[in-house]
C-alpha cells in the first residue's frame, strides 16, 4: 500500500488548506480564490488513486488506518474505504473542485473565509465517507454541518438565517437520536464481548434481538432519512438551496444528500437486518411518495432553485427505492443514481448560478428566449436537463433503469408507481426549460446577457464528459461498486439469520418493554 497514511492525508489536507486560506493576510483577499482552487485541484488529483489503485474484488476495506483514539472507551481512529465510499469520495473531491472554480465571481465579501469553509466542508465529507468507527463517524457527521451552516448563514440570500438554522436543527435533531443509539449499542457491545469498542466490524459481528433492532433501526433511519431527504422530513432542502450561495448549494446537492443513503447502506441496513425486513415496505412506499410528490410539487415552482431542490427529493427517492429493492440491480441502480444525481443536479445548480449572477433573480418568469442570447449556455442546459430526466445515453438513465428494474423484481407495484416519476420529471423539467430558454425574448434585460466565459465553460466540461461517459459506458463504475454492494447485501442476509436465531436470550440491556411485533410506521 502507499507509504504515507493516504486516507488521513486526503481528509486533513483540505482542512489544513482551509486554515491557510482563512489566515491569508488582507492583501491576499483577491488571490484567495486562486489558492483555494489550487488546493481543491491538488485534493482531486490526490484522490484519483482511489479510482485506479482500488481492487474492487478484495474483501473488507482498503487503505486501512487503525490507531487508538480514546483507548479508555475503545474508540479507535479507524479509516478504510471500499467500492461504495471510494466512488462517493471521488464525487466529493470533483464537485468541491468544480464548486470552488465556479465561485470565483459570485463571492465578493469575505472570500477567504468562504473558500476556507468550502475546503473544511470537503474535509468533513471525506471523513464521513472514510471512517469505520461509529464514534468517529458521528464526529465527522456533525463536523460537516458547521461549514455548511456558515455557508448558508453568512453568504446566503434574504432568509438565510432561517434557512441555515432550520437546516442545522433538522439534521441535528436526527443525528442526536443516532448518537443515543450508538451509545446504547456500545453498551450492548461491551457486555456482549467484554471489550469496549466502537468499531463497525465488531458491530457487524454482534447479533441483536430483532425486537430490539427495531428501535435502533428507527433511530438510525430517522437520522439518515432527514439527510436523504425522504418525503415527510424534506422541507429543509428547498429553503437551504434557495438561500445557499451557488457553490454551497452545488455541494449540498451533489454530496451532502448522499450522506443519508450512504448511511443507510453502510450502517442502518447491515446492522439491523431483521428490523429492515419489517420496515422495507414502509420505507419503499415513502420513497415512492417522495418520487411522485417531489416531481408534482416541482411542477409548479416559480423559483428555479426550489424546482431543482424538489427534483432532488424526487431523484433521491429513486435512490432509496433502489436500496429497498434488496437485490443486486436495485443496489447498483441506487449507487449509480447517487453518482449521476450528484453530477447532473450539481451542474443544474451551476447553470442556475450562472444566470443568477447575470440577472440576480431566480424566478423562471423573468427569463425566456435565452437560446438566442446565450446559445452555448442553452446547449449545456439542454444536455444537463436531459441527463436529469434520465434520457437513455445519459447518466440519469442507467441509474433510474436499474433502480426500477430492481424494484420491479421485488414488487411489481413499486416499479409501476415509481416509473410515473419518469414521466413527471420530463414534464416539469421540459416545461421549465421551455419557459427559460425557448420562446421570444420578453424581458429587455435578457437581451444583453453575455454567454458563458471560458472559465465557466471549463467548469461544465468535466460534468458533460461525465454525463456521457456514465451514460454510454457505466461498466467501469459498476465493476467498482458491485463487489462492495454484494458484500453488504450478503452481510445483511447473514446477520438476519444470526440475529433471528437469538430471539430469547437477547444480550444487552432490556430497553423499555420491547414493542409488539409489527414495524414502526415512522420513516
Amino acid at each position: 500500500m502507499l507509504p504515507i497514511p493516504y486516507l488521513t492525508v486526503l481528509v486533513f489536507f483540505p482542512l489544513v488548506a482551509a486554515v491557510l486560506v482563512a489566515v491569508l493576510p488582507q492583501r491576499f483577499e483577491r488571490s484567495a480564490r486562486a489558492w483555494a482552487t489550487l488546493a481543491a485541484a491538488i485534493e482531486f488529483v490526490a484522490s484519483l488513486p482511489l479510482w485506479s489503485r482500488l481492487t474492487p474484488s478484495a474483501p473488507g476495506f482498503q487503505f486501512e488506518e487503525n490507531l487508538a483514539w480514546i483507548p479508555s472507551i475503545g474508540a479507535r481512529y479507524h479509516l478504510g474505504v471500499d467500492g461504495i465510499s471510494a466512488l462517493l469520495a471521488l464525487l466529493t473531491t470533483l464537485m468541491t473542485f468544480i464548486a470552488v472554480l465556479s465561485a470565483w465571481t459570485s463571492v465578493e465579501r469575505r472570500s477567504r473565509e468562504f473558500y476556507a469553509m468550502l475546503l473544511a466542508l470537503e474535509a468533513g465529507m471525506l471523513g464521513t465517507f472514510f471512517c469505520l468507527d461509529l464514534l468517529l463517524f458521528y464526529v465527522f457527521w456533525e463536523a460537516m454541518l458547521i461549514p455548511m451552516y456558515l455557508l448558508i448563514g453568512v453568504w446566503g440570500g434574504q432568509r438565510r438565517i432561517y434557512a441555515a438554522v432550520k437546516f442545522f436543527l433538522y439534521t441535528m435533531a436526527g443525528s442526536v437520536l443516532m448518537l443515543v443509539a450508538i451509545l446504547s449499542l456500545f453498551q450492548m457491545q461491551r457486555q456482549f464481548t467484554g471489550v469496549p469498542s466502537f468499531d463497525l466490524t465488531s458491530f457487524y459481528a454482534m447479533p441483536i434481538a430483532p425486537t430490539l433492532q427495531l428501535w435502533y433501526f428507527l433511530a438510525f433511519a430517522f437520522a439518515f432519512a432527514i439527510k436523504v431527504p425522504m418525503w415527510p422530513v424534506h422541507t429543509w432542502l428547498p429553503d437551504a438551496h434557495v438561500e445557499a450561495p451557488t457553490a454551497g448549494s452545488v455541494i449540498l446537492a451533489a454530496v451532502l444528500l448522499k450522506m443519508g443513503s450512504y448511511g443507510f447502506v453502510r450502517f442502518a441496513m447491515p446492522m439491523f437486518p431483521n428490523a429492515l425486513a419489517v420496515c422495507t415496505p414502509t420505507i419503499a412506499w415513502i420513497s415512492i411518495i417522495g418520487i411522485v410528490y417531489g416531481a408534482v410539487v416541482a411542477m409548479v415552482q416559480p423559483d428555479l432553485k426550489k424546482l431543482v431542490a424538489y427534483s432532488s427529493v424526487s431523484h433521491m427517492g429513486f435512490c432509496m427505492l433502489g436500496l429497498m429493492a434488496m437485490n443486486a440491480q436495485g443496489f447498483a441502480g441506487s449507487m449509480m443514481t447517487m453518482l449521476s444525481h450528484g453530477v447532473s443536479t450539481g451542474a443544474l445548480f451551476l447553470l442556475v448560478g450562472v444566470i443568477y449572477e447575470r440577472r440576480h433573480t431566480r424566478a423562471i418568469a423573468d427569463f425566456g428566449g435565452l437560446w438566442k442570447v446565450m446559445p452555448v449556455f442553452s446547449a449545456i442546459f439542454l444536455v444537463v436537463t436531459l441527463s436529469s430526466i434520465g434520457l437513455p445515453g445519459t447518466n440519469g438513465f442507467v441509474g433510474e433503469f436499474l433502480v426500477l428494474l430492481g424494484a420491479f423484481m421485488t414488487k411489481f407495484s413499486w416499479a409501476a408507481v415509481a416509473a410515473t416519476g419518469v414521466i413527471l420529471s420530463a414534464c416539469y423539467m421540459l416545461w421549465m426549460f421551455q419557459r427559460v430558454v425557448f420562446g421570444p425574448i420578453v424581458h429587455e434585460e435578457n437581451r444583453g446577457l453575455g454567454d458563458l466565459t471560458l472559465r465557466e465553460r471549463l467548469v461544465f466540461a468535466p460534468l458533460l464528459l461525465l454525463i456521457f461517459w456514465m451514460g454510454f459506458m457505466p461498466q467501469p463504475f459498476l465493476d467498482r461498486m458491485q463487489p462492495a454492494l454484494d458484500r453488504t447485501l450478503e452481510l445483511t442476509h447473514q446477520r438476519a439469520e444470526r440475529s433471528a436465531a437469538l430471539v430469547e436470550r437477547a444480550p444487552g440491556i432490556r430497553l423499555v418493554s420491547a414493542p409488539s411485533g409489527d414495524g414502526g410506521s415512522r420513516p
Binding site: 437485490n327 443486486a328 434520457l391 433503469f401 423484481m409 414534464c427 421551455q434 459498476l478
Partner: protein, 634 residues
C-alpha cells in the same frame, strides 16, 4: 468483408454531428450541407452493401450481428451495445437511410435561407443516428435508447423555430406524450427481464413460450403496445402528431411520416413472437388500429391546413399498419410501412415545395390553380395522391390491398369493413387536397401570386425519385407471383420464427373479388371528391351546411385535445399547485415551524413567573418547603 461495418451505419451520422458541433460555423452553409447529406448517403451505401451481403447468405441464417461493448452488467442481468441486421431490420434500415438521404438533400434547398441552418442539420443527423440505433438494435434496451433518442430529436426539431411559443409548446407536448408511451414500454421491458432474464431479442423469443403465463405475456405485450401507440400516434396518444406540424416541413416528412412514427410498427413486428403468444393483445391492436384509421380519416376530411391534412392521413395510414399487425399479417404491415414512407414523404415534400413557393402559406383555402405554375411539384404530388388513394398498379394499392386481404382472410370481418370505409375516405380527402391546391380557380392573394416560383432542382430531384419509388415500390409485394409475394418471402425467416404465424388461405376467386372491391371503393372516393370540389363546388358547401354539426365536430378534431387538457393537464397542474401551496408549505413545513413557535410560546408563559417581586420568589421557596414536607409525610 467482415460484418464489423454494422456499427458504422449509425456511427456515420453521429460522427457528422460531432464534426458539425466542433467545427461549427467555420464550415459555412455549403460545408454543413455536404457533411450532413454525405454522412447519410454514405450510411445508405453501407446499409445497401450490408443488405446485399445479407441476401447472399442462405435463407435460414440470414442475420449479421456485432457486439460493440458491454453496456451494463449487474448481477445476472447484462446488456450490450450490439447491432443486428436481419431481413426485417434490413428493410427498415434501407427505408430510413434511403428516404432520409433524399429528405436531407431536399432540406438543403428548403432551409437554405434559414439563419440557424447548421443547427437544423445537427439535429437531423442526430435523429438519423438515433433512428438507425433503434432499427439496428440487438436488444430491447438499445432499441429503447434509439426510441427515446428519436423522441428527443423530434422534440428539438418540432421546436426548431423556438421563438414561436406554439412550436416550443408542440415540442414539449410531443416529448411528454412519447414519454408516457415510453413508460409503458419500460414496464413491458421489465416484465421481459424478470421472466426471461435478458433483453436480447433471440434469447427473449426463444425463452418466451415456456416462461410466460398467458396473463403475463398479455400484460407485457399490452404495455409495449402502449409504448408503440405513444411513438406511432395511435388512439390514446395521437394528439401530438398534428401539433408536430409546427416544425419545418422536411422534419414532418422525415420524422412524422417516414421513419419515427413507424418505429412502433417495427417494434411490434420485431416482437411478433410475443404478440402471437397473446391473442387478446392482437385483438386490441387490430381494433385500435382500425379505430385510429377511421377516426383520423374522418378528421382529415374537414381540415384546411395542408400539413394538418397530411398529418391526419399519416395517423390514419399508421392505423392501417397496426391493423395489419393486429390481424397477424406483420409482413403486410412492414410492406405498408415501406410504401407509405415513399408516397407520404413525397406528399409532405410536395406540400413543402408548395409552401416554399407560396412564401409560407399553408391554408388551402388561399391556394388553387397551381398546376400550371408548379409543374414538377404538381406532377409528383398527383402521382403520390393516386398512390395513397389506392389506384391500381401504384405502391399504395398493393400494400393496402395486402392488409385488407389479410384482415378478411383472418376472419376479422369488422376490421376489414373499417379498412374499406377508411380507404374510401382516404381517397376522398386526398383528392380534395389535390383539387384545392392544384386545380380550380386560383384564390391566391396578390403578393403570393407575384413571387410564385417553382422550387430549385435540389428540391425537385428528391420529389421525382420518390415519385418513381411510389410507383415501382409496390411491385415487390405484388400478389399472385410464382413463389408467393417477394416481400413476404424476404421477411419469412424473421416473421415465422415463432411458429405461431397464422396462415389463412383464401381461394383465388375471393382474392380477385376483394381486389376489385377495394379498387372500386378507391375510384368512388376520387369521383365523389372531384364532383364536390372541382366539377361543381356548390355541393361541398351544401354538404357542409346539411351536416353542420358533424362538420363542426370534424373541424374541431372531436375536441380530443380540449378533453385531454380539461381532464388531465389542468387538474394535474391544479393538484400540484394545491400539493405545494397547501401540503408542503402549510402542513409539512407548518409542522416544522410549529415546533419552533410552540417552544417560543411555552417560554413566553414561563417568563411571567419571573416578575421581579422578591415576595413572589419567597412565596415559591416556602411552597417548595411545604412540598418537601408533604413528600416526607407520605
Amino acid at each position: 468483408m467482415n460484418a464489423s461495418l454494422l456499427a458504422w451505419i449509425p456511427g456515420l451520422p453521429l460522427a457528422a454531428v460531432l464534426v458539425n458541433l466542433l467545427l461549427g460555423d467555420r464550415l459555412g452553409k455549403k460545408g454543413t450541407a455536404w457533411l450532413a447529406c454525405g454522412a447519410v448517403v454514405a450510411a445508405f451505401a453501407l446499409a445497401l452493401r450490408a443488405v446485399l451481403q445479407l441476401a447472399a447468405l442462405p435463407e435460414h441464417e440470414r442475420h449479421l450481428s456485432e457486439v460493440a461493448w458491454t453496456w451494463m452488467r449487474v448481477g445476472t442481468f447484462s446488456v450490450d451495445v450490439a447491432f443486428l441486421l436481419d431481413p426485417l431490420s434490413a428493410v427498415m434500415v434501407l427505408v430510413v437511410t434511403g428516404v432520409g438521404s433524399l429528405i436531407h438533400i431536399y432540406a438543403t434547398g428548403y432551409m437554405s435561407h434559414d439563419p440557424s441552418f447548421r443547427r437544423f442539420f445537427l439535429y437531423l443527423n442526430l435523429f438519423m443516428f438515433a433512428m438507425l440505433t433503434l432499427v439496428l438494435a440487438d436488444n430491447y434496451l438499445l432499441l429503447f435508447v434509439g426510441w427515446e433518442g428519436v423522441g428527443l430529436c423530434s422534440y428539438l426539431l418540432i421546436g426548431f423555430w423556438y421563438e414561436r411559443p406554439s412550436a416550443a409548446e408542440a415540442g414539449k407536448k410531443a416529448f411528454i406524450v412519447n414519454r408516457i408511451g415510453d413508460f409503458g414500454f419500460m414496464l413491458g421491458a421489465f416484465m421481459l427481464v424478470t421472466a426471461t432474464g435478458s433483453l436480447q431479442f433471440d434469447r427473449v423469443f426463444s425463452a418466451a413460450p415456456h416462461v410466460f403465463t398467458a396473463a403475463g405475456v398479455t400484460l407485457a405485450t399490452l404495455l409495449m403496445f402502449l409504448g408503440a401507440t405513444g411513438k406511432s400516434a395511435q388512439i390514446p396518444l395521437f394528439t401530438w402528431l398534428p401539433d408536430a406540424m409546427e416544425g419545418p416541413t422536411p422534419v414532418s416528412a422525415l420524422i412524422h411520416a417516414a421513419t419515427m412514427v413507424t418505429a412502433g410498427v417495427y417494434m411490434l413486428a420485431r416482437s411478433h413472437v410475443l404478440f402471437e403468444l397473446a391473442p387478446a393483445t392482437m385483438q386490441v391492436v387490430a381494433v385500435i388500429g382500425a379505430a385510429t384509421a377511421l377516426m383520423a380519416a374522418t378528421i382529415g376530411l374537414a381540415q384546411n391546413d395542408i400539413k394538418r391534412v397530411l398529418a391526419y392521413s399519416t395517423v390514419s395510414q399508421l392505423g392501417y399498419m397496426f391493423m395489419a399487425c393486429g390481424v397477424g399479417a406483420f409482413g403486410a404491415g412492414i410492406f405498408h410501412v415501406m410504401t407509405h414512407a415513399f408516397f407520404k414523404a413525397l406528399l409532405f415534400l410536395g406540400a413543402g415545395s408548395v409552401i416554399h413557393a407560396m412564401s409560407d402559406e399553408q391554408y388551402m383555402r388561399r391556394m388553387g390553380g397551381l398546376s400550371s405554375r408548379l409543374p414538377f411539384t404538381h406532377g409528383t404530388m398527383a402521382v403520390a395522391t393516386l398512390a395513397i388513394a389506392g389506384v391500381p398498379f401504384l405502391a399504395g394499392f398493393f400494400s393496402k390491398d395486402e392488409i385488407l386481404h389479410a384482415a378478411w382472410a383472418s376472419g376479422h370481418k369488422g376490421i376489414w369493413l373499417a379498412g374499406i370505409v377508411g380507404a374510401c375516405l382516404t381517397a376522398f380527402y386526398m383528392t380534395r387536397l389535390y383539387v384545392l391546391t392544384f386545380r380550380g380557380p386560383s384564390r391566391l392573394s396578390h403578393e403570393a401570386e407575384h413571387h410564385l416560383h417553382e422550387s430549385p432542382p435540389s428540391m425537385i430531384v428528391p420529389l421525382v425519385v420518390l415519385a418513381v419509388l411510389s410507383v415501382v415500390g409496390g411491385y415487390v409485394g405484388m400478389p399472385f407471383q410464382q413463389g408467393g409475394n417477394a416481400f413476404e418471402t424476404w421477411l419469412h425467416p424473421v416473421l415465422s420464427a415463432g411458429g405461431h404465424a397464422a396462415h389463412h388461405e383464401v381461394s383465388r376467386g375471393v382474392e380477385w373479388l376483394l381486389i376489385l372491391l377495394s379498387v372500386g371503393v378507391a375510384l368512388l372516393g376520387i369521383v365523389l371528391s372531384l364532383r364536390s370540389y372541382l366539377w361543381n363546388p356548390a355541393t361541398a358547401t351544401a354538404l357542409q351546411t346539411r351536416f353542420a354539426g358533424l362538420h363542426r365536430l370534424l373541424v374541431n378534431k372531436y375536441w380530443v385535445d380540449e378533453v385531454y387538457d380539461a381532464v388531465l393537464v389542468r387538474p394535474f397542474v391544479g393538484i400540484s399547485e394545491w400539493m405545494w401551496r397547501f401540503w408542503d408549505a402549510k402542513v409539512v413545513d407548518g409542522l416544522v415551524n410549529g415546533v419552533g413557535t410552540t417552544l417560543e410560546g411555552g417560554s413566553a408563559i414561563l417568563k411571567l413567573f419571573q416578575n421581579g417581586y422578591v415576595g413572589t420568589y419567597a412565596l415559591f421557596i416556602t411552597l417548595g418547603v411545604i412540598a418537601l414536607f408533604l413528600h416526607f409525610l407520605r
